[in-house]
């Protein structure tokens, strides 16, 4: 039986043939090979649906240094090695290398070599302050994990948090104090540097501190310091470039006259509307909100599912998780929310929830009437479908527990605070505050950053004689047009206290290296009333110091001591003043010790909101829509979710995971709508020049960048994420990679929150003849011609299937697959025969009972929950010592990820559906790779794992060819300590996980379900059984690195032999399917590899179910 379906999908721009071969029946036991490339419903690259954008020759000239030279060099090296080995071999035998064991002179009581020790601390990479459990082995941190008892992240950690451990061991960390003397950098001693600064402070009181988000205690400390120096509290500037929080806080201040940012409890919401919202990536706490998304909006096992609709002009990760995503023109968010407000206000009154005299309704009317004039210019820009959807949206907002989330790094216009104000009113009308979906008491801590501090700093900076920049850098974070560099050259003494190479160092007189947060003391108050502690987990690796301690020294050199030995003593004092409000009946010593163990203590503060809003209608003025001129586009330069404003660009793993939407690593790219690309006549890898005309000065500035046609981007937009364009030789990872889009952002300011604007500037686009090959991974591990890779299913269809199966009394069984080779041993009996009989041990004399197999490991990946954030890739790489290969190797398709992230589009290129699929080794029970290995380097484990024995591997790469999932990775190089392809260095031996073998050149590797973690769990279970005198205990709650860190709990790992485990339940779920496993309900079993990994199909709301024409 053969079914073939063909239908024509047509839209205004392109016609696409969708052909699907569903299955071939009993008469043909094997799947027929596809005759030609069949276009599936999903596309990984836009070229598949718009062939006119195809890049003819994929091997394009490199911009600098062809890769040819590197090979020539290595051939020569190879020859040298060979002839040298000949000499050595002929002359002498090689003695065994002598290794030493060096025990301590005095062993700490609680320390046993080889046993990992864990510390609770607080992540310092963003102001959210997730709880972190630091696993240290023999005194050095080897892996960070989210602390599962911490209320902010409950065990998860984002990609940046995971990667931060690379910052600790980074060879390019500033290591000793430097001083600029007549234009030259000199190394100096701490005493010298601090004394000089202290002396400089003696003559002036014009001193300021510029820093990022601070905890209240930290802020008090800096204020105390400034007071001692004769400065005032106005001389402390706190600013973060990711400024959604400022806009939200400002809006709440204007509307309710309260400080703070509400916490979004997505787990309570059933319907969420996003307007350029970025709550899953760069919002207040991506991890906290990711958890909420997973619990509230994604499909639950019990069958319910929330709904999420997003309107946006750039394609974001958050938007990709929407049930329906609408592409709107650049800078039309405010107009959209006002339209929504109009419809919402009318309906609220119609439904009798409030009267026409209600102040909220009157306020809404005021806003709408003042915007009326310019609103019409937008109406033509929204499609009919979008306007219709707005009506539906307002209906649903009133029916369900819901909220509207707006704004984010992609919508950082000068109307950002106005947008928040309009959204706030919408949220009040639909009851989001009442239903505690936007939770104001127990909200995010209000004042970690200052109100309008950045503008104040720009105005005041020139008056200071001494400015301390403490782990913050306005040169890096602000658009060039803000003129920070000129301002700072006029300041006499700039002191740069940083824990990574920063551009501001070049303007500084003193460069003082600061501790990494894993070496520091500190605390954080992410949620109001939740105190989270930060403690050192390792002795300082270099001659760095804690910034606060430096200031204490400076103060005492100036002769105005603060009276504290160090910052730790200061914190102790502060906590001592406070601790009785938490625990009354214990001594402070007991209290602080338990806090250090537990990581946090909290009593969330209640804050009340007034009933009525202030009238803020006068600050809302909707500008009219200005379409870009011909040959121009509107630039969006968002803060990157992985590289930030290039502050994380020095971490190789964050460069390597690449942007998940474009799959481009190690580069900047300009994302432009494919239709716009066609109009401009550019394709992928074509270099364009973008020029900003600065009307005020009559000058223009331009940058060149390669194009990536990105479906889903607004037609009038050009999106270039920040994070590139680092021009700093000390930072070899990011030096000369890509461009910094902030260079072509004009001076702009949100007049309400006083924050810089990074989106909406019109830039001219001109073509150049150059090409630059972007390291895009999107087609590297392509599973050609296969259709049953990714699945989406409509809600009703799924429920129907569940009912049908229940009625038939069946239970879904993914493992019920007719055996392709019935004569072969069943996987379980592999390598287990020897254990089947009772034996008398010759060694111990004990009787060994025949053993059973207690485990069959399996993993489920929920495609509806995966947001493509990349945290799993980082966690996996760090846990398993996976090297980063660098841009050149990546262009050759040699990335080493054990877990990769595939991204698929479906539907119209203007408003595509976007889906992510993490693909790791599927651990096939009938693995094609095992059969082809000539040296048995890859074999089957009785527990279902397809194991890889590195030292047996001779590198034939047959297995990689045989693998249908393309998950095997070959070591083309020994990525030695200090080398990455020919690029940067990440691997200091200290940064490697000592529990996992480091692989060398010529060896194949792949995911092994975190074998080291499995072993640790099994050992723990066995030791426990032994201690308790039980015959046996089974390892439970084993987590792989990827599962452990996943902010949305998309990955579930477990034991199928345990009938109550979550993974056993999920394997019977109706959504479960095996990749390339065909359609078992219709008797088609795909390639019959019987993987232990399975996927849960993404469930979409019926209204937007575009999947009904395929399975």
């Amino acid at each position: 039986m053969k079914e073939s379906k063909t239908d024509i999908q047509s839209d205004s721009s392109n016609t696409r043939l969708v052909t699907e071969e569903v299955f071939i029946g009993e008469d043909m036991p094997f799947e027929a090979p596809a005759k030609s490339m069949v276009a599936g419903s999903y596309y990984a690259a836009v070229e598949e649906v718009m062939p006119e954008l195809t890049v003819d020759d994929d091997v394009l000239g490199e911009s600098s240094g062809s890769s040819e030279t590197s090979f020539a060099l290595d051939r020569r090296e190879f020859m040298k090695l060979f002839s040298m080995s000949a000499l050595v071999g002929a002359s002498a035998c090689i003695p065994r290398p002598v290794e030493h064991i060096i025990p301590t002179t005095k062993q700490p009581v609680d320390h046993v070599p080889g046993i990992a020790k864990k510390y609770a601390t607080t992540c310092g990479e963003c102001s959210a302050g997730c709880g972190v459990e630091v696993k240290t082995k023999d005194g050095r941190p080897i892996k960070l994990e989210g602390w599962k008892k911490h209320p902010v992240n409950t065990g998860a950690l984002c990609a940046v948090g995971q990667a931060s451990i690379q910052g600790l061991y980074h060879p390019e960390r500033p290591k000793h104090p430097m001083m600029k003397s007549s234009g030259r950098w000199l190394s100096t001693s701490w005493d010298d540097a601090l004394e000089r600064i202290g002396l400089a402070l003696k003559t002036t009181s014009q001193v300021a501190i510029f820093t990022g988000a601070l905890s209240p205690h930290n802020r008090e400390f800096y204020l105390d310091f400034l007071k001692k120096m004769g400065a005032s509290s106005a001389d402390l500037y706190r600013w973060e470039p990711n400024n959604l929080q400022s806009a939200v806080a400002k809006a709440h201040q204007l509307a309710w006259q309260v400080d703070g940012v509400p916490r979004v409890q997505l787990s309570k919401a059933r319907f969420v509307v996003g307007v350029s919202s970025d709550f899953l990536t760069t919002g207040v706490s991506p991890v906290y909100q990711g958890r909420g998304f997973s619990e509230g909006l994604s499909y639950q096992v019990s069958g319910n599912k929330g709904k999420f609709i997003q309107f946006e002009s750039a394609l974001t990760i958050t938007g990709s998780k929407a049930d329906k995503r609408f592409t709107i023109p650049v800078a039309s968010e405010l107009a959209l929310v006002i339209l929504l407000l109009e419809s919402l206000a009318n309906k609220v009154v119609q439904q009798g929830k409030i009267t026409q005299q209600d102040p909220d309704f009157l306020l809404a009317q005021k806003i709408i009437s003042s915007a009326k004039e310019n609103l019409d210019s937008y109406k033509t820009m929204f499609t009919q479908e979008q306007l219709k959807a707005l009506g539906q949206v307002s209906d649903e907002l009133l029916m369900k527990p819901s909220c509207i989330l707006s704004g984010g790094v992609e919508a950082n216009y000068h109307t950002a605070t106005q947008l928040q104000l309009a959204t706030l009113l919408c949220n009040k009308l639909c009851g989001a505050y009442q239903e505690k979906i936007l939770c104001f008491d127990e909200g995010w801590h209000p004042s970690s950053v200052g109100d309008g501090d950045i503008l104040r700093f720009k105005e005041q900076a020139s008056k200071y004689d001494v400015i301390f920049f403490i782990n913050a850098d306005p040169i890096r974070s602000l658009p060039e047009s803000w003129g920070m560099s000129e301002l700072l050259t006029s300041v006499e003494t700039v002191v740069s206290i940083q824990n990574r190479p920063c551009p501001i160092d070049y303007y500084a007189k003193f460069q003082l290296p600061s501790h990494h947060y894993l070496e520091s003391w500190g605390d954080n108050e992410a949620l109001a009333g939740l105190l989270s502690i930060r403690q050192p987990t390792v002795r300082p690796l270099y001659a760095t110091r804690q910034p606060e301690d430096m200031l204490l020294w400076v103060a005492s050199f100036r002769g105005a001591s603060l009276g504290y030995k160090d910052y730790r003593a200061y914190l102790q004092k502060k906590w001592q003043n406070k601790y009785q409000s938490f625990l009354k009946n214990v001594s402070f010593d007991v209290f602080i010790k338990s806090v250090l163990r537990w990581g946090w203590v909290g009593k969330l503060a209640k804050r009340r909101l007034a009933n009525n809003l202030q009238d803020f209608s006068d600050v809302i003025s909707l500008p009219s829509y200005q379409p870009p001129a011909t040959g121009s586009l509107k630039l969006i330069a968002p803060y990157s979710y992985r590289l930030g404003d290039s502050r994380f660009s020095y971490l190789p793993i964050l460069q390597e995971i690449g942007d998940s939407m474009s799959t481009i690593a190690w580069d900047s790219f300009a994302a432009i709508n494919p239709h716009t690309c066609r109009k401009f006549g550019v394709k992928r890898n074509d270099v364009i020049r973008i020029t900003l005309k600065q009307s005020s000065q009559g000058t223009s500035v331009s940058r060149e960048v390669a194009v990536f046609p990105m479906p889903g981007v607004a037609r009038d937009a050009i999106v270039i994420p920040q994070g590139g364009g680092v021009n700093d030789e000390r930072n070899t990872i990011a030096h000369n990679l890509g461009i910094n889009p902030l260079d072509v952002v004009g001076y702009g300011l949100d007049p309400l929150s006083k924050e810089p604007v990074t989106a909406g500037d019109e830039v001219t686009v001109t073509l150049t003849a150059d090409k630059y090959r972007l390291a895009a991974m999107q087609k590297h591990n392509d599973i050609a011609n296969r259709l049953d890779v990714f699945r989406k299913v409509g809600m009703t269809k799924l429920e129907g299937k569940i009912k049908k199966r229940k009625a038939a009394g069946q239970v879904k069984d993914l493992d019920d697959v007719p055996d392709l080779y019935p004569s072969l041993d069943k996987p379980e009996t592999y390598m287990h025969q020897h254990k089947n009989e009772q034996k008398q041990s010759k060694i111990t004399g004990q009787t060994r009972e025949p053993s059973t197999i207690d485990y069959r490991w399996s993993m489920s990946v929920d495609l509806g929950k995966c947001t493509g954030c990349g945290a799993c890739m980082v966690a996996c790489s760090l846990e398993n010592n996976v090297p980063q290969v660098g841009r050149e190797q990546m262009n050759l398709g040699r990335e080493m990820f054990w877990i990769r992230l595939d991204r698929y589009f479906d539907g119209d290129v203007d408003e595509p559906g976007v889906s992510f699929q993490p693909v790791m080794c599927q651990q096939c029970n009938h693995a094609p790779c095992e059969a082809v290995c000539p040296v048995f380097a890859t074999t089957h484990d009785p527990e279902g794992i397809n194991t890889m024995t590195y030292n047996r591997c001779v590198g034939t790469r047959y297995c990689a060819n045989a693998c249908p999932y393309k998950v095997r990775r070959f070591n083309w190089w020994t990525h030695k300590f200090g080398e990455m392809g020919r690029k940067p260095r990440d691997r200091t031996p200290r940064a490697l996980n000592p529990d996992v073998t480091v692989r060398t050149r010529g060896v194949m590797e792949k995911c092994n379900f975190c074998a080291s973690r499995l072993a640790a769990a099994k050992h723990h279970a066995k030791a426990r059984a032994h201690d308790l005198g039980l015959p046996k205990t089974i390892a439970k709650n084993v987590q792989t690195a990827c599962e452990q860190t996943c902010p949305t709990s998309a990955i579930t790992f477990g034991n199928l032999k345990e009938p109550t485990s979550k993974v056993t339940r999920l394997r019977r779920d109706e959504r479960a399917y095996l990749m390339l496993g065909g359609d078992p309900d219709h008797g088609h079993y795909g390639i019959k590899t019987l993987p232990n990994v399975f996927y849960l199909a993404e469930v979409v709301d019926d209204e937007f179910d575009t999947t009904s024409n395929h399975h």
């Binding site: 071999g89 290398p97 060096i102 046993v112 046993i115 692989r999």
Partner: protein, 184 residues
């Protein structure tokens, strides 16, 4: 490099490489490669390196009957059996045999807080993940792998510590012989 010289080097290299497996061993173990295969480099029974001081297991474990786990106290709970800290030595040697030269040396080291660099005897290749804890729990005695330590004045490697030897015992005791038990 001229064409001819290149040709010569290739021939030379290939010839010698074919003749000498030692060369192959060396090439496999280039500095920086951490999957070094120590079995190629003489990891055999009978290796008896000199230690900084002539510590005698015969005296301690044999004559004085000190239990192995008194000093190697990690064996029961950790992957590593643990070489005792100098402090543990000093527990006895503050009073025992204080007049002997090696003990004077030891005391000096202890007082100066200088750790002692003992020479490693039992050294598995880095691609083998061995844990003492599991073996002690399973009731395998120390002597099964380390030999008659109680009679050794100078400790040397007794067992071959090669994979076949491991597997033999694992099979005999119904222990796992899946590759991933030891290699990951």
């Amino acid at each position: 490099m001229s064409h001819r010289a290149l040709y010569f080097v290739v021939i030379e290299a290939l010839l010698v490489c074919l003749l000498s497996s030692q060369v192959y061993g060396w090439w496999m173990w280039t500095p920086g490669d951490t999957v070094d295969d120590s079995t190629q480099n003489g990891l055999v029974a009978g290796y008896e390196p000199n230690q900084p001081i002539p510590f005698s297991h015969k005296v301690h474990a044999g004559d004085r009957q000190i239990a192995c786990e008194y000093c190697h106290n990690g064996a029961r709970r950790s992957a590593s059996a643990v070489i005792p800290s100098t402090e543990l030595c000093m527990g006895c040697h503050k009073v025992v045999a204080v007049d002997k030269e090696p003990i004077k040396w030891l005391t000096e080291k202890y007082n100066k807080k200088e750790p002692i660099a003992w020479v490693r005897v039992h050294d598995l290749p880095h691609h083998v993940r061995f844990t003492h804890q599991m073996h002690v729990i399973a009731g395998v005695s120390c002597e099964s792998c380390h030999g008659p330590v109680k009679t050794m004045a100078k400790v040397g490697q007794w067992a071959p510590l090669q994979m076949g030897w491991c597997i033999g015992c694992h099979k005999e005791n119904n222990a796992s012989i899946s590759c991933q038990t030891c290699h990951y």
